[in-house]
Subunit: 141 residues, 2 copies
Amino acid sequence: MSIDPEDLALRDALVRSSFEVMGRLSRLAAEEGMSLTQLRVLGVLRDRRPRMAELAQGLGLDRSSVTGLIDRAQAKGLVERVAEEGDGRGVRVVLTAEGQRVAALLADRVSELLADAVAPLSPAMKRSLREGLEATFVSGF
Amino acid sequence: MSIDPEDLALRDALVRSSFEVMGRLSRLAAEEGMSLTQLRVLGVLRDRRPRMAELAQGLGLDRSSVTGLIDRAQAKGLVERVAEEGDGRGVRVVLTAEGQRVAALLADRVSELLADAVAPLSPAMKRSLREGLEATFVSGF
DNA sequence: GGATATGATTGGGAACACGAACCAAAGGAG
DNA sequence: CTCCTTTGGTTCGTGTTCCCAATCATATCC
């Protein structure tokens, strides 16, 4: 149990900023007619073609949840399931052309959103922020 | 549209770390028999007694969502609704004694979880990380 | 007093996430 | 080759979350 005020402040900053970023991304996603989780999946699929179970693991979700998620994204024409060569059970998830277009658009919009927020920081602070986050919480997808 | 590699890297770090923190807090909450959002509400109510609409605004949620949220937390004995003096419509939300106990326990557990993650950082990096986050994404509750 | 605004709730619907169960395919041992 | 176990993905049930529209009681203002 940590009682160092600096540690408590960092804890609060991490928690609150994460909820804030999630909230902002959620609202951006809603403007594009989708949910936060779908926005996340599109981002992941921009440069990957994972199997369903790989996707579930990378997202930290239950496999059944991913099935539903991909069902809905597929219904919107954003992704498709591709049979895996050499494994009759295997399903890979890939973006459709429309999915790629939407994913690129979203990436740009996210970039703008976050760039606006970090604009007050100096280049050194930005780099320091990035390095701190990468050293601690960047894992999975 | 930003194409500076440093900015793209920061964007990715922010997005991925936020999802990661959310995922970790979600799992911690589940271990304590509650959802991420309930964990968040308990944290907020530790040092506030907001009206329902204030709570909705601070959380960035629709008022009706907050009604459901507080209903469930109340059903678990964690919070209670208190009539507002001088306003027949007003409802304040406060932690019960049990809610306070659980909220304190959660806060400690969150502290441990995050302290473990930031342990690799130097004190200077921790401060830099906190300051960067506070200058950019810490708002609302 | 009447009209308008405000605060909280109710109800409907969609998305999400977990866990259990299921089925087909794959892998391994005898 | 046969049988058993594991793996991959899906289906189903349940609870939570979140938004929107509508409702009702209270408050505010002219």
